[in-house]
Subunit: 301 residues, 2 copies
């Protein structure tokens, strides 16, 4: 088992969906990722929070053994995102983005973090992703996520990151934006040419496409009849994906990648069943195993 370093956002999210709404609930890519990944392997988080960040929210991570020594606390407010889902639960409409302390975020890795074997660069400015890569020493596996904003505004830096990572995890719409291919299969092949050794296109309720040098592995999402809030599903997928790889420490074997994707689907399916990280905090390993058995029956001939 190896340790995982994640660099990303810690945030408060105000979210409205057909199922209800929450105001300033715990969110951010690094939170979803760390809560999930810590079920599989030790996790270190690097990010920034404001003075308003509640001790109980920090305890969500520390109570799971997550190393928060790389977390910066700055004067000002924590990053706040407000969004809504209306009808199409696969795509959020952003209502407000208040970067606050996140605007000047400059990731600095403590010495203990530089030797992390598994590194996940969550969706942040690609120039910051490059700064993190410059600080880590020979990680075994590096993954990244990104979003349309960076694809549109910082493509050269983003392309540099892509050349230096092993696994790209990306939404279908963002994969389309980056490649010009509306077909996810074609997009995955184009993305492979940009550097990664493996590409995972996340398709929301439609699951994922995994592309390696030689193979595809494609499954639907675990079926959930009532999606309460899709926020964090992609980060939960990434957390379970990286957690699985770090736990087995078997590198990029196809078997390991397949198991990582299946666990990604499973954990994301819990995340969407409630707002914020609520469902995740009540989750037991037995719940995951039970759903894993159901997922296998549902997708197996």
């Amino acid at each position: 088992m190896s340790d995982i370093l994640v660099v990303g956002s810690l945030a408060y999210d105000s979210v409205k969906t057909p199922a209800g709404q929450v105001d300033r609930a715990l969110g951010g890519s690094a939170n979803y990722f760390a809560v999930v990944a810590s079920m599989f392997a030790p996790v270190k988080v690097v990010g920034v929070v404001g003075e308003d960040y509640a001790a109980s929210d920090l305890a969500v991570l520390t109570s799971r053994g997550v190393d928060v020594s790389g977390l910066q606390k700055k004067s000002g407010k924590t990053f706040h995102w407000a969004g809504a889902y209306d009808g199409d639960m696969n795509e959020a409409q952003t209502l407000a983005t208040e970067l606050n302390v996140f605007a000047d975020f400059n990731p600095e890795l403590p010495a203990t973090h530089r030797q992390a074997r598994y590194v996940f660069l969550a969706n942040i400015d690609p120039e910051l992703q490059l700064k993190v890569l410059d600080q880590v020493e020979r990680p075994r596996l590096v993954g990244m996520d990104t979003m349309n904003f960076w694809i549109s505004s910082k493509l050269p830096a983003l392309r540099k990151v892509m050349e230096r990572i092993d696994v790209l995890l990306i939404n279908e719409k963002e994969g389309e934006l980056l490649t010009g291919k509306t077909n996810a299969i074609a997009a995955s092949l184009e993305l492979m040419k940009m550097g990664p050794k493996a590409v995972v296109i996340k398709r929301g309720e439609y699951g994922f496409v995994l592309r390696t040098a030689e193979e595809f592995f494609i499954l639907p999402a675990f079926p959930v009849a009532e999606v309460v809030d899709p926020t964090g599903a992609g980060d939960s997928f990434a957390g379970a994906f990286f957690g699985t790889l770090a736990k087995s420490d078997a590198g990029l074997s196809v078997a390991a990648l397949k198991e990582a994707c299946v666990n990604g689907c499973l954990l994301a399916s819990f995340t969407v069943q409630d707002f914020s990280i609520r469902r995740l905090t009540q989750l037991t390993w037995a719940d995951v195993q039970e759903r894993g058995g159901a997922f296998e029956r549902i997708t197996r001939r």
Copy 2:
């Protein structure tokens, strides 16, 4: 092995996609269905064509042993549909619908057709679907498709058909329209309450959701990097689905339904690789088997 009766449209389609275009190429739900289903079991077609219907187009069916004795030839022109796909290959934009002889279509089943064991009511006016049901004698399995136009304009008749059939095959968007549920999992559960013993929601490049009384079976589509023309994919799915069930004649067992869905995906994946029925007419059983093996590898852990 049992025989299959399909009632649907025979048409000429003018289609434009990012990959090119065709003018008045062979199309129609009954044609796609029959060409595919005849690879599995004997097929009888009931429909109507105009005086312009080419002998070579009729030969597409007769050369495959399809019984066309229930086909009506009327004075006037064959049904013509013009459509375009632009970006989103999962949904066609209709440019023109010239019903022609199809406007007065009144399905009359020859005596030889009334005892068909497997009956597929392709996407036609639900009042005509009811007329067909009144003419068949104790079929073992009845399936149906429909479209947004009938859901909006003839819902009461459509609901009557749904109460009398075994398997509903429907597009995701149409399932949403019929149930008010944007989530396909929730929609499948609602559709089950309307009468069918099994529901297949067709999701284009995202595959399908099969719902039976007790189980889900969900898979993505077979990955195709270049979709040339999605027209007829759903009817090809239905043809392979019904063909598989008729060939084994094992009723609505879950194993039979799963195999039917897998073959549905496989055959639909060939259809989209060229315009009209072109790819299907060159298809060998070895091609299908080879792709079946690949599909299993791609979706199996």
